[in-house]
Symmetry: D2
Subunit: 463 residues, 4 copies
Amino acid sequence: MSSSKSSGASDHTVVTEGVISPATWNLVESKFSDFARETLTKLIRFVHDECMPAEELYHAQVGIGADRWTTIPPIIEELKTRAKALGLWNLFLSKAHYPKHGVPLTNLEYGIMAEVMGRAGHFASEATNCAAPDTGNMEVLAKYGNEEQQKTWLLPLLNGEIRSAFAMTERYVASSDATNIRTDIRQEGNDIVINGHKWWISGAGDPRCAVHLLMGKSDAKNENRYAQQSMVIIPANTPGVKVVRPMQVFGYDDAPEGHCEVLYENVRVPLKNLILGWGRGFEIIQGRLGPGRIHHCMRSIGAAERALELMLRRVTDPRKKTFGKQLSEHGTIVADIARSRMEIDGARLLVLSAANMIDSVGAKGALRDIAYAKVVVPNMALGVVDRSMQAHGAEGICQDIPLASAYAQLRTLRYADGPDEVHIQQQGKIELRRAPALWKRQKELEARTAKLFEKSGTPRPHL
Amino acid sequence: MSSSKSSGASDHTVVTEGVISPATWNLVESKFSDFARETLTKLIRFVHDECMPAEELYHAQVGIGADRWTTIPPIIEELKTRAKALGLWNLFLSKAHYPKHGVPLTNLEYGIMAEVMGRAGHFASEATNCAAPDTGNMEVLAKYGNEEQQKTWLLPLLNGEIRSAFAMTERYVASSDATNIRTDIRQEGNDIVINGHKWWISGAGDPRCAVHLLMGKSDAKNENRYAQQSMVIIPANTPGVKVVRPMQVFGYDDAPEGHCEVLYENVRVPLKNLILGWGRGFEIIQGRLGPGRIHHCMRSIGAAERALELMLRRVTDPRKKTFGKQLSEHGTIVADIARSRMEIDGARLLVLSAANMIDSVGAKGALRDIAYAKVVVPNMALGVVDRSMQAHGAEGICQDIPLASAYAQLRTLRYADGPDEVHIQQQGKIELRRAPALWKRQKELEARTAKLFEKSGTPRPHL
Amino acid sequence: MSSSKSSGASDHTVVTEGVISPATWNLVESKFSDFARETLTKLIRFVHDECMPAEELYHAQVGIGADRWTTIPPIIEELKTRAKALGLWNLFLSKAHYPKHGVPLTNLEYGIMAEVMGRAGHFASEATNCAAPDTGNMEVLAKYGNEEQQKTWLLPLLNGEIRSAFAMTERYVASSDATNIRTDIRQEGNDIVINGHKWWISGAGDPRCAVHLLMGKSDAKNENRYAQQSMVIIPANTPGVKVVRPMQVFGYDDAPEGHCEVLYENVRVPLKNLILGWGRGFEIIQGRLGPGRIHHCMRSIGAAERALELMLRRVTDPRKKTFGKQLSEHGTIVADIARSRMEIDGARLLVLSAANMIDSVGAKGALRDIAYAKVVVPNMALGVVDRSMQAHGAEGICQDIPLASAYAQLRTLRYADGPDEVHIQQQGKIELRRAPALWKRQKELEARTAKLFEKSGTPRPHL
Amino acid sequence: MSSSKSSGASDHTVVTEGVISPATWNLVESKFSDFARETLTKLIRFVHDECMPAEELYHAQVGIGADRWTTIPPIIEELKTRAKALGLWNLFLSKAHYPKHGVPLTNLEYGIMAEVMGRAGHFASEATNCAAPDTGNMEVLAKYGNEEQQKTWLLPLLNGEIRSAFAMTERYVASSDATNIRTDIRQEGNDIVINGHKWWISGAGDPRCAVHLLMGKSDAKNENRYAQQSMVIIPANTPGVKVVRPMQVFGYDDAPEGHCEVLYENVRVPLKNLILGWGRGFEIIQGRLGPGRIHHCMRSIGAAERALELMLRRVTDPRKKTFGKQLSEHGTIVADIARSRMEIDGARLLVLSAANMIDSVGAKGALRDIAYAKVVVPNMALGVVDRSMQAHGAEGICQDIPLASAYAQLRTLRYADGPDEVHIQQQGKIELRRAPALWKRQKELEARTAKLFEKSGTPRPHL
């Protein structure tokens, strides 16, 4: 076992009890630095003791009226202050890739932390400044932004003073294939002029949203389809930026952030707002993909764990007997619980192995593993949440228990960043590339078999 | 083939094209009366040509503001007038059971019609006065109400002038087991006084909701647990009736009807508002179950058919190519379509056989078949809707396409009226009752086998 | 209800008790002739009382030694005599299509009978001369054979005096696409000379097998790929016909029939052994498909019903308690039973609707429904048999209980006559043909919606 | 990354290419000793280059005649000699637990090796003297046998000179609950006399089988149900040991080992053949369980990997085009491949985490993880093998391709050592033990929430 165990077996218990299965922890523990262990311990306490008890207050402060689009719930700002003080801040930004602003955590280490955050829905991620789409935007600015862009936009984002939107998905086209994007970006003198129709722009409804990073076509006729796009920084209050309406996810509008339909009508920004250079938009978004998917997966596993915990509570609730029996005494309920446990543990290992692969060989070498994790986890988590909802009956699908909202959120992950079907086809084709080597091996094997028969003198049956 | 075919093969096409599979229609057609055939033809046209084009307007008239709880969308009232004129009114109420007010349709016949209505969600059912919870309430009043109760409440309901609520489910207890109900009903002089805490009271938020039928305990200490309950008619505007809040199904509040949390605080109604008599509540709700479940199932099949049609449209949308290929060219999409088709057709046959069984031997003799239909159909429909959502990507889960809302609605059917798990256990145990007969048959078989061996002279192998 | 009911409600019970669900019977009963009802009643008794008790003796008479390839178990011949006497003979051959030799049963009627036979595996089918491949071969000879061919081969087959093989599948090619067939058929003077390498030729190992119907290419270069094949009658004892080995299905060799690898080396038969004419082989096999698939499906449903009955017996066996509990007291076992029941009933209805469709509009018009039945049923039956095996533990997979052998047999149906995947793709594509009509309807609907908004004055929301 | 990488990155490639996914290897590599790495490399070569090419010869040498029960195929003995020379011998026996005879491999390390062996079915395990039931018997003798017992039976087993059987399962009772065992063991003077009826005694048919370890009741009336059993060593040639017949798994009899029905009729052995002492049988079998299940799981994963490789070959076979398309061009085939890959990788990680847990805290502390692995893996592997069979068509279920035999073997693992259902119920109940702690946490959380509302002044909504 790892040397870190010897320095304090009791720590071990503190860190992981009721959080990840001992077998998984045993497998990965030796890869955790002391810093990561300490941070994880603090984070678990912060999420369980401070974030989760505050969820109801958060929703009460948002309210259900029309003003929830202009409200900043005070509790979230208080928690942000607290997280910063505890050193639980910007944990997503890896020092290895972002030496200036990053935190010394590997993808494996942060993965476990993302799971812990995922137990409190979107809430703990926001409290620790680890919430999408800000995370991806900060990565883009940290990696590709110039000094002025970083000073103006990255620093306030890193400080949690402003929020941001990422404007990519377009209405009326299949923009999951980025080459289908139609938003027009053109230079006019020292200005950039943008015209486009986007939707599902997360965070665009938030009163704190100060900036959009927008992807569009600056050179639609370029023969190289991957050089047609550029990315531009648009202050949210620029004239011509019109938030049309919030899109709903299964009836939820997720105020105050929202996932908005946004029109960009003759939006004009200075040339210095171009990121990296003309035609480099595709290159920028490629860099966003790998680790972010792992984080999504781990948060989803956190959501699944919480759903299972809610189920365990519900089926043992003494008030909920029917026909003289508690739900936990029904064999099919027990089987659903065991199945959920198995599926969560298996899926987590798959994601952690992908996270570790990124740490070992980089995101490019881990694409296969990331893709599998991306397909497996949301499907698994949806199943677990569905069983928990079912055990809860009517209460399970309403606003009083965070299951239906988790389901809705998880459901989007089956098509966001490419639908399951596309990833499965891609990976199946990659697996098929092994065929020539297998045929070769088979030929060798057949030659050896022929020789063995010859040597043995055993007659070979008619095949 | 049925004689009705000879009278006009072209009718056949009119009636069912694109509505139910020819093989199913061929199987059941001979059981359709001329009246049912004509009504079905009219209904298909009404739903396709008048209801479905009006859905968007309905939602626009409801709006998204706070006043949607006080709004009666004019379009629904116009459609009701129109349906009444067409003779497409109260089709759910079977003349066989309710000779005074009913319509001459069997459960099988109305089943197909319920499917047609189900294509337009809740909307066509309401337009034809065939929407829950009014349907169940009308059945109760028609079957158990006295003349005065019928005059005061049944007639305006039959005319679609008022709407109603059914107050049964309670907060904090597992009220799917009706013996757990805690709402207190007691007589004080010539009054009945009600105190209770209900939720998920559908329709209670509607400005047209004029009356609640409430289930509670009037004799909680009666040794016969099925004689403890009574049912009382409560005018919606009685002092003490407090609508606390609408419950959400996923994120939908289904305004203006709503599924409401309702407090009954010292609600006082005259003694004549008691239905059937003291202690007969259980008897009344038992009568509500059978056919209503079939109708729910058939509407769900309609929802599944619509989801499949939306999918067929979406995957052939020329604007939605990704990487140069239309979705309909992907093998897994094609397989999903075929699977959906198979599953819908199989489930429909199961429901129709149950409906026909009710027509043949009554609801009690069809309980097994109703239970199976109730379990199979929502699960099937959820699968079909989910595949359609997946093919739609982000658009599939938002307010622009009626898929996520259908999913949310269908999801409730997996626990409403008893969760899947309970029905499955009950039916499994009923199937197990065959075991003694099977053991007996096995004994006989073994005796015959022994005799055959003896007669044949073949030595019997060691077993 | 049907008039036949009035003539004797008790008959009803006799006919179907414990055989098909009352709800299904109620739905189809009116389509049964008196002859079919009587025949069904007799058949049920024959299968339950005479065939099933004889199974063990049959296997004992076949034995496990090498001589089982030359043994004709006397019991099967006795049962054939008995079935003939009872009028339970050649029931598969529909009088509607084969007036000279056929029996007046529709596909729907015979479908139910095939299910009854399927309860006793291959055994009852053989006893009633309704076993493949003889059935298909008799259909071919009855439909396409000339008088001499019928006299020489059809009559003894109809009498159950000889058995036959159908030689189509070839080794080393994907012969499920019949155009891939490579067996060479050529005319030499007044002879036909055949050279080919077939396998999976069912029945070729049987000592009673007197004739092969062989499919091969007589005109491989014909531009019309469907005119390259011819079908030839080959007496089994013709020189050059070499049965190489029996193929195993999950370890079973199904002696004495066998599924054999067969070489045809310069096999020479007279020209009169050509069926229908040169180049008409494809036409002949096309005619074999529809009803035969329905019969396979119904026999598979019979196998599933028997598996469920075995499960019901096993889980109530008092000797099989573990940890103080009988298997039937475990919730998941009960759920497995209920699920099996639901799935069987749903699948049966699907097949019966397809059978009825063939009766109504012919096999060609029912292709869609036949294809769905062919995909749904074996998968369903495999699931039911697997659950029953699981409840039996080790006993469930061995030679003492006919479950593993049923599983092996059913498993072949998922690829025989075209794999599931091919049927699913074909049907999905056929379903997709509805898309243009749906687009058209959608356009009309949108026009109506626009008009409704205009008329109502309600402002249309930004969509 | 691990330091061992630095010593030779190229080794890495040699060891794992095409064997386990790089992501998994990266995760566990640091836990592999140099010895384990070398042994694994040698083993992969031995299995691929020597065992797999010899499989066909092995089966040819066994043959299909009656003498296959008396034949020892020379090739297996040659491979055993070779494996011994290579140091690939008795790898299953962990030095940590069996210092005298064991090999210095952890469960994690040997787990990966068991997977490699599993690619060649039972064959490579036997060649390396790592085949059940000998492995379990050697563990019993090494742990509980006295010096004389070890000398007489353990040493020849460790040398691969004899083979053995484990006689536990009984006919007519549910012996998966060991307290149901009925075989009688009694002392008569200095002898032990055994009477019992066992079946599924693997290896009892083998001419090399020299000894049975038998479990029976020596004290059936002991109040402590776990002290009723004893274990006795019975030389296979003792009078009264009657091998009745081989049981078939599906249609396989697995000659020459066999899984036999065995009668013990007044079998008499000397008292010194008692293992450990009277009444200690239960204690002995308890010690057999943990690691053995892990090995079974890993061999099953090897079987799944091989099935996937066969599928990759088959679907790219140029001779197998249908309708002009190769199987690998069909979207659903590609999806099946990707799904198989995902499922294998996820399941392997689950088993490895359990193996590592045994290494860390012992088998007792890893029971949960072992149970999950035992349920997940066979179900996963059956699915993968089934897809591969389906892609192969008829060839996939016959004796020419090792898929149907693998399926049959894997199917037994779903009930052997306790059926899935029992493990799932046990683990579900164990998971439910978390409920009290969750309720406690929930109470604390609610108290914190109340305090937060109070402090914030936000009014708390009616809940």
